[in-house]
Symmetry: C2
Subunit: 319 residues, 2 copies
């Protein structure tokens, strides 16, 4: 399949083409720039939602419930599950995905796990590209599910229009929540497993912590959900749509998206230059920067200066 044909088929919403395009992103394929050029003008229609929270709070089940709720409102939906790629477990995440099989034959639903195998910038740069492919393919709602609450996951989950932070009664007390540094990033809080003891306490703790923080134009609502009995999902979808409406009315949506894509571009530039530095180091004869650094003849700052000089003057490289 030629690049232009792939782009056309993605724009037509062809599942196989979308899957193939995301694989190209995973691999960091050389065909991405052409694909990106063809798809980018057609993006910006989808509402992207990031789902983050500690392992075990039930993000996968919640994502499945969001799919159902979106379909009930006649929206098309995609789920992109970020896969941490453990050589020990391989398909652990695929097990979760099985819960989604109910939607396997629904053309309005696209579900995909994503890892980064060759993408230079890791998931922080790969995920936004995948989101744009799903956006260009015509999905109304795109849910990104991340695995943990670390910086990389948080980065991916916040590179969306609406970020959901999911906690569960068993997860930990308020101090643990705040330690994880995720209070700041939530547009909507979800207390999942609301059927379990302690859910009200968790919601109250969150409310109290939010009260301690700065006054915000958008006060993140706290929604209790249960993936066992399906309660709270409609409220959650309403909260997501309220947040989108708030952002659109305030002009923040476009502003935030522009800021995001600029950060992404800066990251792309930095990664390419980093790759160039790696090349320079690999080409070094014995006694170069790497050896001097290992022998503590020069310190890291000096080494960075030397390499910065070399990488900034590509014309002098051959001299």
């Amino acid at each position: 399949m030629k690049g232009s044909e792939l782009a056309e088929r993605v724009l037509a919403g062809d599942r196989r083409a979308v899957a193939r395009a995301i694989s190209l992103v995973e691999d960091g394929s050389k065909d991405l720039p052409a694909l990106s050029a063809a798809l980018y003008p057609k993006t910006g229609r989808a509402h992207t939602v990031g789902l983050t929270g500690s392992p075990g709070v039930g993000k996968s089940s919640l994502a499945a419930m969001l799919v159902q709720a979106a379909r009930a409102r006649d929206r098309t939906v995609a789920v992109l599950a970020i896969d941490p790629t453990s050589p020990f477990t391989g398909g652990a995440l695929l097990g979760d995905r099985l819960r989604m099989q109910a939607h396997a034959t629904d053309p309005g639903v696209f579900i995909r796990s994503m890892a980064t195998r060759g993408h230079l910038g890791g998931m922080a740069l790969a995920a936004p590209e995948a989101l744009r492919i799903l956006d260009a393919s015509g999905k109304d709602l795109i849910v990104v599910e991340t695995v943990g609450v670390g910086q990389a996951e948080v980065e991916v989950a916040t590179a969306t229009d609406t970020t959901l932070v999911v906690v569960s009664p068993g997860w930990g007390d308020a101090v643990q929540v705040s330690k994880a540094g995720i209070l700041e990033i939530a547009d909507v809080f979800v207390v999942n497993k609301a059927d379990k003891e302690g859910a009200d306490d968790a919601a109250r703790d969150l409310r109290n912590m939010l009260r301690m923080g700065p006054k915000l134009a958008w006060q993140p609502p706290i929604v209790k959900t249960s993936t066992v009995d399906g309660s709270g999902v409609d409220e959650l979808v309403d909260a997501i749509e309220s947040h989108r409406a708030h952002q659109q009315e305030s002009g923040q949506l476009e502003e935030k998206r522009t800021r995001r894509v600029l950060e992404e571009v800066k990251g792309m530039v930095a990664e390419r230059l980093r790759a160039r530095v790696s090349e320079l180091l690999a080409q070094e004869a014995d006694g170069g920067v790497a050896a001097d650094l290992a022998g503590r003849m020069i310190d890291p700052y000096r080494a960075a200066d030397i390499l910065l000089e070399r990488v900034s003057s590509p014309s002098e490289r051959g001299a």
Copy 2:
């Protein structure tokens, strides 16, 4: 205090100088290159240990126990606690640090929380610099405690000679452990809260998962500890020292350290170039790359190409 005097006092092990030097790292001070040049030749003596694991598994208490154990063996020790800096909670981590006050007057112990306020490269670049300061100040053992199991925390915790991954019986089942992607990074596993029910199960699950993985020259031991009754700490210190000995004998220690500092230098170069790109974008008149990108006239790859071209040819910037 002049830079050269500060370096001299750090090398003499002066507490206040060490604290001041780490503050310079946090702030991304302009004095860092000179400080680094003076200290770097004197580094490489300390054994650095990274402590990572989910919030709530007891890393802070474990760090306190390691301090005690190291002192009992007549080793000087520093603890560097990575602070995620939440505007909501501010001093949440300082509460934990109180547990360490027992050592406040012991000159053989240095404890410090660290945030990044102005450091360009975030914690991934700031932490190794702080470690070198502590190393140069003469501490035998340096423990880095991180808050979560996200990529950034894992990066910091693995940028050490020996990485401890801490779990606790309540933390989650084996699948959750593997999902977090931390099996691969552990040199030693710690099942903390061994006094609680489920500790044996957690240890067994870890053992089984390790069996499923690749055969390694160093098989990460699994040590059960309890910070309540202090059990297991001696085994843990032994495991840490065995790992160090293994690395030294195999030559991996120096090799790993050289690889680490090279990665750090690459990161420094990339961050400086990223800052240069930000400057370029900030200097743009209306209708530049940012506007074209927002208006979807050019796509992210094209934008990166343009900026890469500009940043790589600084001499042409004024043209």
